[in-house]
Structure formats: C-alpha cells, structure tokens
Symmetry: C2
Subunit: 356 residues, 2 copies
C-alpha cells in the first residue's frame, strides 16, 4: 500500500482539495487509488467490465461515481488512435429555398451517435475543394469517420474517401456507380413521387404535371420516374406535362405559368417544396385557389410547407430513420464488423394538407 500511496502523492499534487474537488479532474490513477486497485483494473472496469470479479467491479464503480470521473478523451485518443468523433461537413441551407431539412437529420444523428459513445464534429466543406477539408481532418486524425451528405452531385468525395481508405457512410445513393460497395442510406424518391401522384389520381385528377429538376440531377430523375410510372399505370397522358429546371422558387413559378398556358393541369407534383412554393406563387398571381382549383404536392415536408397558408401537402422523408440507419452502419464500420447490407432504401410518406 505504501507504494500506491506514494504514487498518489506524485500524481495528484497538493492541490489542497479533497478527493471530490471538481476543480481537479480525477484521472485513472485517482480512481484506482480510491478503489484500492491498479490503473489497468479501472480501465477494464470501463472498457471491459466482464473481465473483473463482481466485487472489484463494484468497488471501482463506486469510486468512479464518488469522484465523478470520466476518462480523458485526448489521452484515450492518443493511445487507441480513435477519437470517437464523427465528421459532418456542414453546408447551410440556401436562402430562398424552402428549408434545411438537415435539421431533423442532424439532431437524430447527434442523439444516436451519443448512444454509441460518439460525438458529431462539424466542419466546413468547401464546395469547390471538398477534398481539402476532409484531408485536414484525416491528417490530424481529428475524426474516426465521416457522414457524407449531398452525394447526388457526382459525389467526388465518395470516390476520394474510398481511395483514401477513410470510413464513411453516405446519405444518398451512389447514382453514378450502382455497384459501389460503401454503406449508404437513402430515401426512395420515386416511391415518394408515386405516392403523391397516386394521391392526386385517387382524388380524380387526370392531368397531373411534374415540376422537376434538370436532367443532370439523378435524384430529380429518380423522383420523376415515380410520377411517370404512376401516370402510365393509371393510363394517364403525360405529354407536355413534365417541366424541368433548377430547383428555385422562380423556376417553379414560371414553369407553372407555362404549364397552365399549355395544358391546364389540375394537379402538380413537385420535386421539392421550394418548387412547390413557386407553383403556389404562380397560382396566387392568377387568382387560382390551390386545393380547390388546382392541387399541389411538394417534396420534403419542410417547415415552410407546414406553416404556409394553405398548408402544402408534401412528401415527408423519414430523416430520423435515415440518421438511425447511418449510425447503425457507422457503428459496424467503427467496430470493424462487416456491414452485411451496405445500402438501405427507406420509404417516404405523404402528408396531406390543404393544397390537395
């Protein structure tokens, strides 16, 4: 015992504080001394409790609770070469768009990473030079893994991260490489659009238009295919009922005017809430009442859709479930277990409000 006491004296300088002094963070050695065991035993109590005898475990746990000890993350990281941090590139919602749907996603991500003992680290991802941001994080071993969003735009990050041997899970399918092996989670956009289209068809609409994105966005084309498929299934004509453009509000407005001039659709299915809000603006300008004269369905169930008057019907993405799926895959990666099902495709739901 003398030796141990001596070690204590060395480790914890005469701070004048008693054992529970919160101003001096307790270390493994502090806890070990209090519990009358060695450092390693305390370490085992935390990381591998099954190794300890029941009685010892109890002693150690009591000491930990008494001192309010939690392991120093830096020291742990240094030794294990793992930071228990997940990197999340953070881009703000663009002004003038309906909503940052990332909000719900990020929150669930934070909550469920915490449950597996991880935290979420935000970092700015330069739009033009995304690699640099990732590279810095990797070089300084700042994070153990990444959550990659916005993978639809050709996703150069995915290719880079894979080449670099970094761990990551993508929110978004690898559109340009369907045989990719990395884990991903995504929402079935085609099913969402189909849901919206079928909903309008069920309400008796026969001339249902699609307001989509430009052709080079696979996610937009995917959603469009759901509209197209449903129209075909119902035997409805689709000629000159499909618009495409950038996803802005202004585009939605103009495209709606054009469609109304051309084919007088009674229902509009939109690739995003932003576009749908543009459509509502066009209807407003023409004195048409959404929901009564023309039905509109958006996509994303943004806050704007929820608070707009009239309330905008919209396809809701299960962002919470997506985050859970992402974290589940992350955990497997981080514990070096195989991810048996790398891809997970979730089904959206339809929220019906006043506009349909």
């Amino acid at each position: 015992m003398e030796e141990r006491d001596a070690e204590m004296a060395r480790r914890v300088p005469a701070a004048g504080g008693h054992a529970g002094d919160p101003s001096v963070a307790p270390t493994l050695a502090t806890v070990a001394a209090r519990a009358g065991v060695s450092r390693q035993t305390v370490s085992n109590a935390i990381n591998n409790p099954a190794l300890l005898a029941e009685e010892t475990l109890g002693k150690v746990e009591r000491a930990i609770a008494d001192l309010g000890y939690s392991p120093n993350l830096a020291a742990r990281s240094l030794r294990t070469r793992a930071t228990r941090l997940i990197g999340l590139p953070f881009e703000p919602a663009q002004e003038g768009t309906a909503n940052a749907l990332m909000d719900r996603f990020v929150h669930t991500l934070v909550e469920s990473t915490r449950e597996i003992g991880y935290h979420v680290l935000l970092f700015a991802a330069d739009a033009e030079d995304a690699e640099q941001g990732y590279e810095r994080m990797l070089r300084s071993t700042a994070v153990d893994a990444f959550v990659v969003t916005e993978t639809y735009r050709g996703s150069p990050q995915v290719e880079y991260l894979q080449r670099r041997g970094a761990l990551f899970v993508a929110f978004g399918r690898p559109w340009d490489a369907p045989d990719a092996t990395h884990p991903w989670v995504d929402v079935d956009g085609a099913a969402g659009a189909a849901l919206a289209t079928a909903h309008l068809a069920d309400r008796g609409h026969e001339v249902i238009a699609w307001l989509g994105w430009t052709t080079d966005q696979p996610i937009g084309e995917d959603r469009r295919s759901g509209w197209m498929r449903t129209m075909r299934e119902r035997g409805l004509d689709t000629t000159r009922l499909s618009a495409r453009g950038d996803g802005t509000l202004e585009y939605g407005r103009r495209a709606t005017h054009a469609l109304l001039d051309a084919r007088k659709p009674t229902g509009l299915v939109c690739a995003s809430d932003t576009v749908a809000m543009g459509a509502l603006r066009a209807l407003h300008e023409r004195g048409l009442a959404p929901g009564r004269d023309i039905a509109v369905v958006g996509f994303d169930d943004s806050l704007a859709a929820q608070v707009a008057s009239p309330g905008l019907s919209s396809v809701r993405q299960p962002l919470e479930d997506i985050a859970l799926g992402v974290v589940e895959r992350l955990e497997r990666l981080l514990t070096h277990r195989p991810v048996d099902e790398p891809g997970l495709l979730l089904q959206p739901t339809l929220v019906v409000r006043d506009t349909s």
Copy 2:
C-alpha cells in the same frame, strides 16, 4: 546523425513505405529527421515560428509540406489540456414553426471558428437536465468552451457554467441578471419591432396590432416594447391592440381573428414568423388579402417568410454578424485576453416583401 537515424528507425517501424507514404501519418519526429533538426524545433516552427532562424524555419516548413504533416490533435490536447473544440448544444427546430434560424448562425460559427483553429462539436442538450450534458463534456475535457444558445428561458446553464468556471459565450442577453459579466451577443429585438412598426406607420397605417409571446419570455417583452415605443412616438393608440400567447401558428391564427373582431387593425407586427404565418392563415380564412387589406410583418426572416406567397415582410437578424461576435469573444476567452466589451447588441434589418 547516427543517433537521429536510430531514433527514426524506432519511431517509424519498417512499414516499407517511403517518406511520403500517406498510410503512415508522419509525426513530429518524422519531420524533424527529414529537416535535420530536433522535435522541439519543429514544434516551435508550428506554434512559435518567431523563435526560429529564418533558414531553419524554411527547412522545417519544406519538410512539413513534403510529408503533408499535420500535428496529431489528441497528443497535442493531452499535453496542452486544450482540445481546440467548441461545444454547441444542439436542439432541433420544432416542427410546425417557421424555421430553424440557427442554420445560418451555425454555418458562420463553423467557418469562423475554423479560422481561429477551432472546430465545432455538437452535443445533445437534454432539455430537462441540461447540466448533465455540459458536465460530461467538461469532465472528459472534450471541449475548451461552449456557445450557449436559447438563454432566454431563465438560462440556468449560464449560471451553472459560470459557477463551474467554464468558458462560454452566450447568444442572448442575460435578461434576469443585467449586471452579469459573461460575454454575450444579442440582437436588439425592440429595435427590430420598432423598425417594423415604423415601417407600417410610414405607409399610413394607424391601427397597428402586436402579436407577441407570453409575458414570461423577456425576449418577447423586449420586442413588444419596440412596438409600444413607436406607437407612442407616433401618437397612435394601443388599447386592445396587443395580444400575447405561446408562439405557435395556431395562437397567431386565433389572436388575429380576435383582433380583427375587436379593433380592426390594418397592420400586424408579429413576434416571430411562425406567429405571422398564423396571422396569414387567419386572413386567408377571412378572404382578406395580406399586403392590400392588411399589412403583416414577421420576425426572423425565416425561409418560410421568403418562399411564402405573398412573401412575408420580416425583421432579419444579422446571424452572421452574431456568430462573428461570438467567435471574437471566444477567441479572447481562449487566449486569456480580457473581453473589454462583454455584451454586444446588434441591430436587425427589415426585409420588405409583399405583405406590407
């Protein structure tokens, strides 16, 4: 030189890779060997370049660039007891509200913390037991400082963090303790409401109502005071023109109906965009055209305000500047320099759209 080579051999095991092998992260020792100097000199080159002779500095910088070295953050943290991480408690936007205005704030925060060499770490703040979340972060020395948001609700965290001796900057004034000494940044809500009220008065409105929050939210009372002050200045009557309640959409809707029945205001100034959207809904239900029959101004300039039809005029908070102010104060705290002006009150602006 023999000794140095020997050390190299020990430090970098026979990985088979050449010096630039990206699979083995270079360390200080690697760089030192390459530049022909000691570890400490490399460390100084990074942290205190002024100490080095110009020639030596050049050599070291070249070696760093060649090897693509960045310091291991865990090792640095362990030694310096600083993590270079800022903790940000993260709550999601509530469903059914106009918008998470945090989005813009967080992005600027991430960008400008990076510029001072810090990263932002999200953590889930339990609404009921906020202290626990902070305590965990502090105990494990996971972050160096916090950014505290939502300080309006009595702000128990602020009191706790101060007692605990933790570093933090608050987004939001210490309402209940005006003499508090901790650094904070906030927006002049009264000025914002005054701006909105004056704007309506300038357009000839004389019966301008206030749709606010419950009395126990000081931030709501602050904004209300701006309305009240401006009404008085203009010699306008305020009797039975002020509504208060929770900030929900439904409250905004009902309060608007009640006001219209009672006093027929021609202008509405709202404490938030959510409330304003509720007001718009009430107008919609009565067949009144916002902007023509009745003017409405919201608060926050949420995405919903931007995309709604008609576009909602709204008071815009300078969230980017707030984030900059927060980071500036953080930096002073972290470098142990005094914060000469702990409080910073910023002025909002008015974005005029269709509803006014």
